[in-house]
């Protein structure tokens, strides 16, 4: 499918602190409107959903449509409830999933 996503989260934070999370994943995000050189339509292939969970609870979710650029980048925030593990999931058309985990400790 695609290369390993790049994720930037702090290693540690204070409880109650609002931290920024940045993710970037290499993906063509084919819209299904584009044509090859031979005139045939390139079939739609999007990462249609992104989910961010922390310690099992949903923090943020995105539905990505054809208007989202290739190699989708997302930056969002979380108010740190305590130590735990992030789980980031991208879901591609057809159901393939990419999941990444990151631990966060509390100062």
């Amino acid at each position: 499918m695609s290369a390993k996503p790049r994720i930037r989260v702090p290693d540690s934070a204070r409880i109650g602190e609002v931290i920024e999370i940045k993710t970037l994943i290499a993906h063509a995000m084919e819209t299904g409107n584009r044509r090859n050189n031979d005139g045939s339509i390139v079939p739609r292939l999007l990462l249609h959903t992104f989910e961010a969970k922390f310690a099992g609870t949903e923090v943020f979710r995105a539905n990505l449509h054809t208007g989202t650029a290739a190699n989708p980048f997302l930056s969002f925030f979380m108010k740190v409830p305590g130590p735990g593990e992030f789980e980031f999931t991208w879901i591609e058309d057809g159901g393939a999933r990419i999941t990444e985990r990151r631990a966060l400790s509390v100062i």
Partner: protein
């Protein structure tokens, strides 16, 4: 009092005034945006305000236009911004993205990158936890359109 119909008529007027190059694409866009809006916010009447949409005034490359959306909200367990929807009415398919926040988000701010086929006004709709809707729009001039025509 603005109802949904006058709002849509307003949208058409905006699109027309922006000079949509392809009448067919524009017509499709209008049909699509009505359906897309209904699916996203139902029959709600959004009020202007509460949203800051940060977009470049001129996008040289429509394939990747960076943006940031912020909704003014205290983001507590009882009062928070629930969802944000972005639409580009003059794209072949108007939906850009939808974002869903939780009280754990801390801040209803998100940044990403969009595709824009041509110069147009980008629309944002925000849904709050109490069921109210807000809207904002920003014109963007696109030098080279995206969407791989």
């Amino acid at each position: 009092m603005t109802d949904r119909r006058t709002f849509i008529v307003g949208l058409s007027a905006i699109c027309a005034s922006m000079g949509c190059t392809s009448p067919i694409a524009a017509e499709n866009g209008q049909g699509n945006i009505r359906a897309a809006l209904k699916a996203l916010i139902g029959e709600a009447t959004p009020v202007e305000g509460m949203i800051i949409l940060d977009l470049p005034e001129i996008a040289e490359n429509g394939n990747t236009v960076p943006y940031t959306v912020s909704v003014e909200s205290p983001m507590t367990n009882t009062q928070y911004a629930k969802a944000v929807h972005l639409l580009a009415p003059a794209n072949p398919l108007p939906q850009i993205s939808s974002f869903f926040f939780t009280p754990l988000s801390g801040k209803a701010t998100v940044s990403s990158r969009m595709r824009l086929a041509q110069t147009q006004e980008v629309l944002v709709f925000a849904e709050m936890s109490n069921g109210t809707f807000y809207t904002a729009k920003r014109p963007v001039k696109v030098t080279v359109g995206g969407c791989g025509g």
